[in-house]
């Protein structure tokens, strides 16, 4: 079946512009996670959605970052007024179980470059 789909695969933007990154999770997965990964580094937690509950936004690095999940399915991560330090690969994952209690299925990520 279809896996987690992220778009775009690559995004180059100018400093100060806004960007939207999209994630289509696996159908039926109620949990959705966003992480970012700088070159050669580990994964940094950003935000977690579970069903219709309020999301866990504890990992968002600043108020320039926001995310929503419409209808319990597709999620959009928005970065406003992008900065060069926002350059990274943004990874989305979904899972059947809650809060890391079952395997996470990852998309291939969006590589964001801020020039």
């Amino acid at each position: 079946g279809a896996g987690v789909s992220q778009s775009p695969s690559n995004k180059v933007t100018e400093k100060g512009k806004d960007v939207e990154l999209r994630c289509d999770p696996i159908s039926g997965h109620t949990a959705l996670y966003w992480y970012r990964q700088s070159l050669g580094q580990g994964l940094e937690f950003l935000i977690y959605f579970q069903g219709n509950s309020a999301p866990d936004k504890s990992g968002l690095p600043s108020d320039r970052f926001s995310a929503e999940r419409t209808g319990g399915s597709v999620s959009t991560l928005t970065i406003q007024r992008t900065q060069q330090e926002d350059s990274a690969v943004y990874l989305c994952a979904s899972s059947l179980g809650k809060r890391g209690n079952s395997p996470l299925h990852f998309g291939n990520g969006t590589r964001l470059t801020v020039t």
């Binding site: 992480y35 580094q41 580990g42 209690n101 395997p103 291939n108």
Partner: protein, 109 residues
């Protein structure tokens, strides 16, 4: 604070040798998971071990969990060049969703 730490950060071995990487965590866990990442893109799930399990196998992979030491290890036996990748542990301890810093494994043919 980071809930998962891995060592070594990098490991280089010859094809056919075994590779062992370790992961430590700081608070009680429900489960611990291992993932593999090729080329800096999406991670692939390898094994999930629950807190009441001590060892789990999947093909050439063996994972152990020592809750008294708050540590886990991933053993890859008879390594192949195709095993070259970064390996990450993940846990949901302390209501966090944390990946370790990863071990970069290189298997030389």
């Amino acid at each position: 604070s980071q809930q998962g730490e891995e060592d070594p950060q990098a490991l280089s071995i010859q094809e056919g040798e075994n590779a062992t990487m370790n992961c430590s965590y700081k608070t009680s866990i429900n489960n611990l998971q291992w993932y593999r990442q090729n080329s800096g893109r999406g991670l692939v799930h390898l094994i999930l071990i629950r807190s009441n399990e001590r060892e789990k196998h999947s093909g050439r992979l063996r994972v152990t969990l020592d809750t008294s030491k708050k540590s886990s290890s991933l053993l890859i036996t008879a390594s192949r060049a195709a095993d070259t990748a970064s390996y990450f542990c993940f846990n949901n301890a302390g209501n966090m969703l944390t990946f370790g810093g990863g071990t970069r494994l290189m298997v030389k043919p």
